[in-house]
Assembly symmetry: C2
Homo-oligomer: 454 residues x 2
């Protein structure tokens, strides 16, 4: 065994002091957001009634390569960061592979995922702006939990619209949010106009993320001192999440290892975008080469089977248009258990990078993902989130290819979180009653046909 | 703010290479286990049909001060240890106290608690002895989860008897165990003689820890190549858990801090005994003084309201007799949500140390504990286990005393785990419907009257 430890920890003063804005190094910038009514490109000011001021500026900032992390955010980061870069010695041994496998583990905090990295930044800017509180939506609950922790820390009010079916089926996620002082409302609710309207049109509906977004936006804009915040897809979120990649790069440099391959799961892109950003930056500047693989569920394959076009970000069609790989905003992903990967589109930054050939993408079946998750858990100890397990599956596949070729590749993947609130899914897998869902070409074509023409 | 980081991490090669056996430094040794039939002191050999050989030796070893941690166990420790010693800067600030508060956090592993420290050791010795597998009981499920992870790692079979009411109410804990390959049987079951007998006598019973122990012991002794393992109370468990205290001491030494006060929750004693062992060792050798406080639930106050006598370790009265602070083996603790602290007795080692004046004890009410837990979570981020929150409550009280006196005491407490599987309890607290349970003097006297006379 080498002298590389199991867990490479940076010290707290090695947490990056600035986020890296990959857009500054992109020759082809991500396409701008458009006003859905006029088709015109939006300016930061246009977004300010909805989002916090500083975050609107970050959203539009394609030029500044580094953006300082505020001291108060850094202090909070120190409670759970730097996160470890783990050498998967036990997995390597179990696979019998010559590959060296590393994973950046973001699950060692109560939110259970990397979402906290952006939640605390967004809460900070809301506080700095003098707001009373923020609103958001949550599906599976990871983002809502992270935001509740962040707002509790800064003494802000937090109103979470939780998709009704999740609210009822995931009472524990809801309870964590309440413990941190958030108000959690099942959506569609009777507290907003849009909620009442949907409840009237579709009595007894289970709700959807699209509807919850619409309610959260209405709640933000109809209350004095509130703004809406979002945990993925947006450029600002990828900016904050760059802390993952910067730490990963610093830890690899510390042990003198160059990654050959970087693998991450991709839903809206918050984790993958953060993880790969400094590595892609080197590629964009012509300094280095990496093989980057985005892994998405076969049930919601926006990179591998979607189109790169302008589309609505939400099912309710109230948000700006973004150019992205999309399956169409009407696409209803099957009930896959990786809730964080059930989004019809993809970050504009990642979409542009993918279009320009800086990364590959692959899709994997749910049952294969859970088999990989279980194999990983039994040797590496950590029970992974279903989302993260998409990356595990492909990392294992790549390590097994190395076994055939004899290559000692350095494989790095993002372990975004833990599966402690996903045990209904594990139970289905353990009981052998988990399904795989793969949309037909026709499903996707129908949904894509409804994209706006810009 | 001082230059002490938020989290003091030792490096992996600073994990102790030997466990510290506090019994070697005790002038008054813990009283020996007795055969319940004859009243004679048991020898290691007497225990070997039930427990693994090496563990029986460790159980009886009052002499060797240091016992080497096997390399395979150390390798596993490196996947989740050293655990951080955290400086609670945010809690200090919220309290406005001059005290410096530190906590040793054992929750950053999938079992969610310190239980894994002993589970992996016990699984290792079972493997080394060439056994096929082990059996155990679990109530709330933390020990069962830890053991499942440990047996998965060593490729051993694991049979867990889970108290029926927990099996039904905590399906997620059960599912984690299954994911790690364990067989989980609700107890009382129809798979053992004692289970069938109890089901016949008490149709529809919810089960109890005492019954689950009896079933697990029967399963171990009636199958070729199996032994029974236990996660608390025993001397061997405190030995393995000394890794907590040794790391805590090493981390404090590293930053040049001397603890004034060490606080831990106490159920069977596995965490408290491990945390304090090297500090108590210094006291026993006359090298240093510390104020040590055991915190127990008001609903199950063995130190503060029990008697120091020989008693049965289990309700079913099949196990050896131990001399300990006890409420009587018939004592039925009220349905407190800190499942890990609902034990009628206390480790023999801790009982002797308490009798000899090396530590104090105090009891706290459940609702006060959850209020402290919530206060802690909102500023320190981590959602604590109800068990751990007993220590938080007293640490906060002591820090507030320092605020009055102006003393800058160094307060160290054990944060044994996370509350991710305890959200039913948090929900009750959040809804304002949580009760406090305090046994009457009469309840305790009645139960104590049934202790055997030795």
């Amino acid at each position: 065994m080498s002298d590389i430890p199991y867990k490479v920890y940076l010290s707290e003063n090695e947490i990056p002091s600035a986020w890296y804005n990959v857009r500054a190094d992109m020759k082809n910038k991500p396409a701008p957001l458009l006003n859905p009514g006029t088709g015109e490109a939006l300016k930061a000011e246009d977004l300010m009634p909805i989002f916090c001021e500083e975050l609107c500026k970050q959203e539009m900032n394609n030029d500044d390569k580094w953006i300082d992390i505020p001291g108060e955010v850094l202090d909070f980061y120190k409670m759970y960061r730097p996160s470890p870069l783990v050498r998967a010695y036990c997995l390597e041994k179990a696979l019998g592979t010559p590959a060296h496998i590393y994973y950046k583990f973001e699950g060692n905090n109560t939110s259970g995922s990397h979402k906290l990295n952006s939640a605390i930044a967004q809460a900070y800017y809301a506080k700095k702006q003098g707001l009373k509180g923020v609103t958001t939506e949550t599906g599976a609950g990871q983002w809502g939990t992270a935001l509740s922790m962040a707002t509790a820390y800064f003494g802000l009010d937090c109103q979470v619209y939780m998709v009704k079916v999740s609210y009822e089926q995931k009472p524990f996620r809801r309870e964590v949010m309440r413990t941190y002082g958030a108000t959690v409302t099942p959506s569609p609710s009777m507290t907003t106009n849009v909620g009442r309207k949907i409840n009237e049109e579709f009595p007894g509906t289970d709700g959807s993320l699209g509807c919850a977004i619409s309610e959260a936006v209405e709640a933000a804009t109809s209350q004095e001192g509130y703004r809406y915040v979002l945990g993925s897809v947006l450029n600002q979120v990828l900016l904050h999440q760059s802390v993952i990649g910067l730490e990963t790069k610093a830890a690899l440099d510390k042990i003198g290892v160059k990654a050959d391959m970087i693998i991450g799961c991709a839903g809206g892109g918050s984790n993958l975008g953060g993880l790969i950003s400094p590595f892609v930056g080197e590629m964009l500047r012509g300094e280095n080469q990496y093989e980057i693989i985005a892994v998405e569920p076969a049930s919601c394959p926006s990179f591998t089977r979607g189109s790169y076009v302008y589309d609505f970000c939400d099912t309710g069609r109230v948000c700006p248009l973004a150019k992205m790989y999309t399956l169409g905003s009407n696409f209803m992903p099957a009930p896959n258990h990786a809730g964080g990967l059930r989004y019809h589109g993809m970050s504009s930054i990642l979409s542009q990078l993918y279009a320009d050939g800086y990364m590959k993408a692959t899709s994997v079946k749910q049952t294969d993902v859970f088999a990989a998750a279980e194999q990983f858990a039994r040797v590496e100890g950590i029970l992974p989130a279903p989302e993260s397990s998409h990356a595990i599956k492909v990392a294992i596949d790549e390590a097994l290819k190395c076994k055939e070729t004899g290559e000692a590749k350095n494989i790095v993947f993002g372990l975004t979180g833990t599966g402690y609130f996903d045990l209904v899914a594990y139970q289905k897998f353990n009981d052998g009653v988990m399904d795989d869902y793969i949309p037909t070409d026709d499903d996707i074509a129908k949904s894509l046909a409804q994209c706006p023409k810009f």
